[in-house]
């Protein structure tokens, strides 16, 4: 590790941490957990910075976020939280805030892997093969679990189904 590495890593991380934090929050639904998850992911990127700097550090970081999130749930046992956690500190306009809480609460009805698949597919715009590779699962599982996740959202959170409108129809 040389001084130049520190400067280039800090510059990269400062520029990309907000985008990565958004992904981490969608994966976890909890701001503090998301911050911990991102901190660990950035540390792992920093440890490999000399090799990643000229490659795709952000792709590596997103893979770490997705996989570590699954691992975190796995080692503690899945706890499906059905009440929405408090909104992250920041914007609070009433209607939009309520809608965000509704979405966050609905996502809590999914398994960790279903949630990760939805986030990667529909927020990150990953393809099915990209999602499968990132999560270390088959493409068939990505497809079937995307379908299952949307069905579960409709079942467990009918209010969201109304918001989703034509989803699944």
């Amino acid at each position: 590790m040389v001084k130049g590495d520190e400067a280039s890593f800090t510059a990269w991380a400062s520029a990309r941490q907000h985008a990565l934090m958004r992904t981490a929050f969608l994966l976890t639904g909890d701001y503090q957990r998301a911050e911990d998850l991102l901190q660990d992911a950035l540390t792992k990127v920093a440890l490999r910075w000399s090799r990643l700097a000229d490659g795709q550090p952000e792709a590596y970081a997103r893979t770490i976020l997705a996989r570590d999130n699954v691992s975190w749930w796995r080692r503690r046992g899945r706890e499906i939280v059905v009440e929405a956690p408090p909104e992250p500190p920041g914007r609070h306009d009433t209607v939009a805030s309520e809608r965000r809480m509704l979405v966050t609460e609905a996502l809590n009805h999914l398994t960790d892997k279903q949630r990760s698949i939805l986030v990667l597919r529909f927020y990150e715009d990953f393809s099915v093969p990209q999602t499968a590779q990132t999560l270390g699962i088959s493409e068939g599982t990505v497809k079937s679990q995307t379908h299952a996740a949307l069905a579960r959202l409709r079942q467990k959170a009918p209010e969201l189904a109304e918001l989703l409108g034509e989803v699944g129809r």
Binding site: Q17, L42, R75, T104
Partner: protein, 393 residues
């Protein structure tokens, strides 16, 4: 568009997330991690140098180098030092009045020396093609994995010779936790009977007992008892439910008075990881979540301790969380002489290791190759391999 609406909603949630300030903190943390790694490597290197100096002291000619048979002096460096955890060594500390050693991390296990026993094969390949049968014969282990919905898709049975069969289990339902509705894997760590001849799987309000030798299965209602976490008692005489036991001969369910085997996890103490394995007067069992301040901070957040007690024996092996801070998810498989065989399961790795309770050395008994997609959510249940002959270092 359907997908477009989902995208919009997720983006709306994400856009409200304020920026973190983690860049410099992450760099500082990486520096600390790197320093710890260097320090750990240095400890291993010092130990190796001491050992090499000891050998040199015994063999050298007084000039500090090892004489070769042809009279030349060998000045080559010693490379690839053996992992300290794989060597006989003094205890790292004392716990509960007995010696305690720090075991290898999951990442370090690949560098451990091998040991051999006729009780276990050196490798188990679950990825190889396996035939389906309802009577694979006496089993050494049973493996199952879940898909993302926690639905068990198949049970793989490992026979005594290391061969693998797929157990025919048609018509299994997804089991749900009665308290929170979460899916539960029908196979758990004590599903296989200690003699390896029967397997019990949980279903909703019933259990299914498979006879692996004669074939066939029997469904048994558990009435109002929840059936998940069903498993054999360590003596193999009963099948235990969370709040009752089943006599496998009479199929009667009774609720014993007093604490159930394995109770205590709600008392704030260490959580026992079923099952314990006994040999003579000595018992070995894994426990988790126990404070181990005597062994320092290197164990991570979720260490597992393999504990041995009874018969004048008391010893502990502490297994650190891996670098991903994952619990090593260990459990005792049985006794092989003075050694405790235990499973170690990390992210994408699965092994059976032996621990010499006299000198702390840990060695690899069996490497397990998992099928694609089984890196997460895989569970194994082992027969008791105790009292099997032929263990060699």
């Amino acid at each position: 568009m359907t997908e477009q609406r989902v995208r919009e909603l997720l983006s709306e949630v994400a856009d409200a997330v304020p920026p973190p300030q983690l860049a410099e903190r992450a760099w500082r943390q990486s520096v600390r991690v790197r320093r710890r790694r260097v320090a750990a490597t240095a400890v291993v290197a010092v130990g190796t140098v001491v050992a090499v100096i000891g050998i040199v002291g015994a063999l050298n000619d007084g000039a500090g180098t090892i004489p070769r048979p042809d009279g030349d002096q060998d000045t080559r460096m010693v490379a690839n030092p053996p992992l300290r955890a794989g060597l006989p060594r003094p205890p790292d500390t004392q716990i509960d009045g007995g010696p305690a050693w720090v075991g290898p991390t999951v990442q370090d296990e690949a560098r451990l020396p091998s040991a051999h026993t006729t009780a276990l094969p050196s490798s188990i390949d679950l990825a190889s093609s396996a035939t389906s049968t309802d009577k694979p014969g006496p089993a050494m282990a049973a493996f199952a994995a879940t898909d993302p919905e926690h639905q068990m898709t198949e049970v793989m049975v490992v026979k005594r010779d290391g061969g693998v069969s797929r157990l025919e289990t048609p018509g299994l339902d997804i089991v749900h936790n009665a308290e929170n509705g979460d899916p539960v894997l029908p196979l758990n760590i004590s599903s296989l009977s200690p003699d390896g001849r029967k397997l019990v799987l949980a279903q909703n309000h019933q259990v299914v007992i498979y006879d692996l030798v004669a074939g066939g299965h029997r469904d048994l209602s558990t009435k109002d008892q929840v059936s998940y976490n069903v498993g054999w008692t360590s003596d193999g005489k009963q099948i235990q439910l969370p709040k009752g036991v089943i006599d496998p001969k009479t199929h009667q369910i009774t609720t014993p008075k007093g604490p159930m085997q394995g109770d205590g996890s709600d008392q704030g103490g260490p959580t026992p990881i079923w099952p314990p394995r006994a040999s003579g007067q000595s018992t070995a069992q894994a426990v988790s979540d126990r404070p181990v301040s005597a062994l320092g901070p290197t164990l991570g957040n979720d260490p597992v301790l393999i504990r041995v007690w009874g018969g004048g024996r008391r010893a502990t092996l502490a297994l650190p969380s891996d670098t991903e801070d994952l619990n090593p998810r260990s459990r005792v498989v049985g006794w092989l002489g003075e050694n405790v065989a235990f499973q170690s399961q990390g992210f994408g790795s699965f092994r059976v290791l032996s621990w010499d309770t006299d000198n702390g050395a840990v060695r690899v008994l069996t490497n397990v190759t998992l099928p694609d997609g089984w890196d997460q959510g895989v569970t194994a249940s082992w027969a008791d391999v105790s009292h099997q002959p032929g263990f060699a270092q």
